[in-house]
Amino acid sequence: MSVKNELIPQASAANLTPEDFRQIGVDEKQSEVIQRESLSAWRDSWERLRSNKLAMAGLIVMALVVIMAFIGPMISKFDYQTNDLMNTNKPPNSVHWFGTDDLGRDMFVRTWMGARISLVVGLAAALIDVMIGVIYGGIMGYFGGRVDEIMNKFAEILYSIPYLLVTILLLVVFEPSLGTIILALTITGWINMSWIVRGEIMQLKNREYVLASRSMGAGSGRLLFRHLLPNAMGPIIVTLTLSVPNAIFSEAFLSYLGLGVQEPVASLGSMISSSLSGWMLYPWRMLFPALLISLTMLAFNIFGDGLRDALDPKLKK
């Protein structure tokens, strides 16, 4: 191969000799040699993701937010719920790095505690969505036919009930706590995921490797969990990443209605909504949580987009 390529540019009719027409032959051993390390599909996707600078920036920001939400409250000497009525609404200073709120609580600690709660709500809601969605969608896609039709109709009916209204109703009736908020957010959140899984499984189940496995006696469970779902993992992960910010957003909206986590616990959303009344006088009370929630949303969205491009390069536009 390489010999031929080198020769061509030099070859002109004048200096061709019979030597140039000798048969080189094919070295069969050479053609079997693996030129470079073989990459698994996941490695391949990772390489693609790593070369996407924007997505990596998103990943780094996500990691930083998670780490700070974990250690942030520990590196300050204040705690998130002790009132200090002598020091209310203080602007950021060397003692209170992000200032204090209307009850004199340290905003630095509260902001990171809020981030922790927001992340917990977002991640938990997204994970529950995935679990229900994968099982429900997997069954719909795998069995198809009548089962699919009925289950799909049910999902469609549930989906067309406006999601936030149901969430609000549930939280009006059951007192808002971390658990009920997560539950209320997942009540219809899983449907989208189940449709994505259904679509994937429907495409995958006609592949040869499924037939091969089935012909060797694999049962439905094995086919679904060992062959079909692992191959549908890409879109599942992407949807998961993109549904975390949605849940965080919804929680912020619920906080605004007074249906988010209750005092003294704070989420980023509830801190923003409690700062709204006096925020023109004390802008830092909104600034830090608002910045953090925006940054988190941004990071998750950018990373999710990058992940989609990396896992399914066909989709890239």
Partner: protein
């Protein structure tokens, strides 16, 4: 076509019935009844009240009565505001919300499509990058943060607009901007990616090869085809703007339905919550139903795929 529309319509009715039923039984699940808190009231009066609101009858009878009333557009009487009918409260305040919402929808569509189109036409150039940064920011920043920032900068500091109130046309600017920020971002991204696809389609090349004027190509072929995905977003956008307006109305002191909803939740005014929830539900479901139909009219390919499935 008729079958498709009827089935979508039936779905909508079933969903609506479920929502109504859910609201009814959830409210019934709340321990106690609305008059428990009024301790000074003698038992006779409390019983009289229970009777007046029909709370002494079995749940099933109450449910039937409730359905019948709703069908007639009667959502009962507010529990916290004396002598106010829920239906009246809704119709009184919905006007302001509707005006605000419609303006926000139109602004989102026009600005979003324009931004997306420009980004696609100047792909990977300055306009594209700026538009996409704006779009990402619009998606990442919650609307109530956008609203407060706008209020602070343009009303408080610069004094161009009123901080609160909803009287003149100028009072629309800030709330609409805050409401439309997120939909604009979404629409711009949708439009951009679909326009990019259309711009590289063979029929555009054909049209250019035929020597058609670029403006004609742009509006006859590119925009018409590239705008399709935006139509699917109309339903979710309505939902987005309605939920957004709940918060925005509060911030800008607009006496719309959103403000009523927020105060009904904080007052635990159950009949009012039920009424507004069902009202919002009807609007959102209608929006989604109309979106489904609009899509079939604009894109005939949808019909085929649906016939194959059903």
């Amino acid at each position: 076509m008729v079958r498709y529309i009827t089935s979508k319509f039936l779905y909508m009715l079933v969903s609506l019935l479920i929502l109504i039923t859910a609201t009814f039984f959830l409210m019934k699940a709340i321990p106690g009844n609305p008059f428990m808190s009024e301790k000074q009231v003698p038992p006779q009066i409390r019983e009289r009240l229970m009777e007046q609101y029909g709370l002494d009858k079995p749940v099933i009878v109450q449910y039937g009565q409730y359905l019948k009333n709703i069908a007639q557009g009667d959502f009962g009487i507010s529990m916290k505001m004396q002598n106010k009918e829920v239906t009246g409260l809704i119709t009184d305040t919905f006007g302001a919300s509707l005006k605000l919402g419609l303006v926000a929808i139109v602004v989102s569509l026009v600005v979003g499509v324009l931004l997306g189109l420009l980004a696609a036409l100047y792909h990977r150039r300055l306009i594209d990058n700026v538009a996409m940064v704006l779009a990402v920011l619009g998606i990442a920043v919650p609307s109530f943060v956008v609203a407060s920032m706008l209020q602070f900068v343009f009303a408080q500091k610069a004094g161009i607009f009123n901080v609160m109130g909803f009287n003149g046309p100028l009072d629309y600017v800030l709330p609409v901007a805050a409401l439309a920020a997120q939909p604009i971002a979404f629409i711009a991204r949708l439009t951009r990616s679909s326009m990019l696809e259309v711009l590289h389609a063979d029929y555009i090349k054909t049209a250019r090869a035929k020597g058609l004027n670029w403006m004609t190509i742009l509006f006859r072929h590119v925009v018409r085809n590239g705008i399709l995905p935006v139509i699917t977003y109309l339903g979710p956008m309505t939902a987005n703007i309605i939920t957004g307006s709940v918060v925005i109305e509060q911030i800008f002191g607009i006496g719309g339905l959103g403000k009523v909803f927020v105060s009904s939740i904080s007052n635990r005014d159950y009949t009012l919550i039920m009424g507004v929830t069902i009202f919002y539900g009807v609007i959102l479901m209608l929006a989604r139903f109309l979106t489904d139909i609009a899509y079939v009219f604009v894109d005939p390919r949808i019909k085929l795929t649906n016939r194959k499935e059903g």
